[in-house]
Symmetry: C7
Subunit: 77 residues, 7 copies
């Protein structure tokens, strides 16, 4: 038994806002437009997130290469 | 003989609390919702764990990319 | 459901200007000429981007090996 | 001729105590419950080992992701 | 649509001078003799390039292992 | 022509003493018991080697995960 | 067109002296005895090369794991 598959869970976040933590410590928040099996991600209306969890730079649409991803999560509510 | 397979053991932890140690030293505790063969993980009610093994930040639901994982363990009892 | 595939999205940026953030912090801006499934990229009229997001060095045509890529995005407008 | 295969040798250590040295310098000692072809390991009654080769923290049961492993050895006798 | 494939573009640089930027910051300039799908490269009359983009050491013929490559470009004209 | 294959050469060192240099600088000397195609190694009567090429710690039997290996050589005679 | 394949070029260096630059900066000079498709190398009469490009340590025969290789070249003449 392996429970719910991570990529299936990720699929449910499409069109929703997610917070992505990258290797090196950078955080990016944006609307998840799509992804593939490598966890390559497409985010729309993306913002770089600073130390204090506040947006510090507007990025627009971005493609994130999956091997940089540590954690993907919905933003804190 | 290879004993019990790690992913089979991990399967028994689904729906239970686990502590995940990531490369770079970060720890995350949460309920294991699911995983795949890369050790990509889905955790619910996740919390970042600080130096003193105490929760220091609520993360909600998170998807952890498997290549960041060092150790997965049930939390100390 | 995985939404729109990252490489399909990338395909729509061919012949357009993109900003590529590389591991180690370097940024390169240029016109996307082509790419492959590893995110190896070909950029024309490429410029290295400095700390202040301003061009600091002309690179001409470049082939970027995909495993160095963190983020690909259209340049800020 | 390749002698005895490492994973066959590892199989003989199942149910025995092993010392695992991880990238970054951490050491873990525990009873080897099982493993797979990636050297993902399951250890029971695991303890983190400090600089002086003495146990410094009880970990209980742990799954170690194989790509962090440098050396696996029976503990010094 | 993925535009022109990076390795096809690289093929057009065979027998021409290229500048290769390697991980760790080293640069090598030389005539591209050949390459393979890993971006392993063969350069003839190669020179190591110093901080000021000037040749600082003659290397002769070199084989560069592809996983060290960041960027390949024709030299500035 | 690729000359003698590295793993064939390694096969001739089975049952002989080898010196293994690992990423991070650590050296291990021991009798090569076996290996596989990833250069995972089994060493018996292994010793950690210090800066001065002298044994500094007895390790007994060890399994070394191949991706940590830089160089394998017979010990200096 | 991909020109001459790197591994074919390497094959012509068998039985000749080569200089190998490794990740981390170490250099090794020796006679190339053989190699495989991962660029695992066997060198005979190998010497470690110091900062000044002079031999600083005799290594004898060595097997170099390919993923450590940056550059292979014939020694300067």
């Amino acid at each position: 038994m392996s429970g719910q598959r991570p990529l299936d869970i990720l699929g449910r976040s499409v069109d929703k806002n997610v917070l992505v933590t990258l290797k090196g410590g950078k955080g990016i928040r944006g609307r998840l437009v799509g992804f593939d099996q490598h966890m390559n991600l497409v985010l729309a209306d993306a913002e770089e997130i600073g130390e204090n969890d506040e947006p510090c730079k507007s990025l627009g649409s971005v493609i994130v290469r999956g091997d940089n991803v540590i954690i993907i999560s919905p933003p804190p509510t």
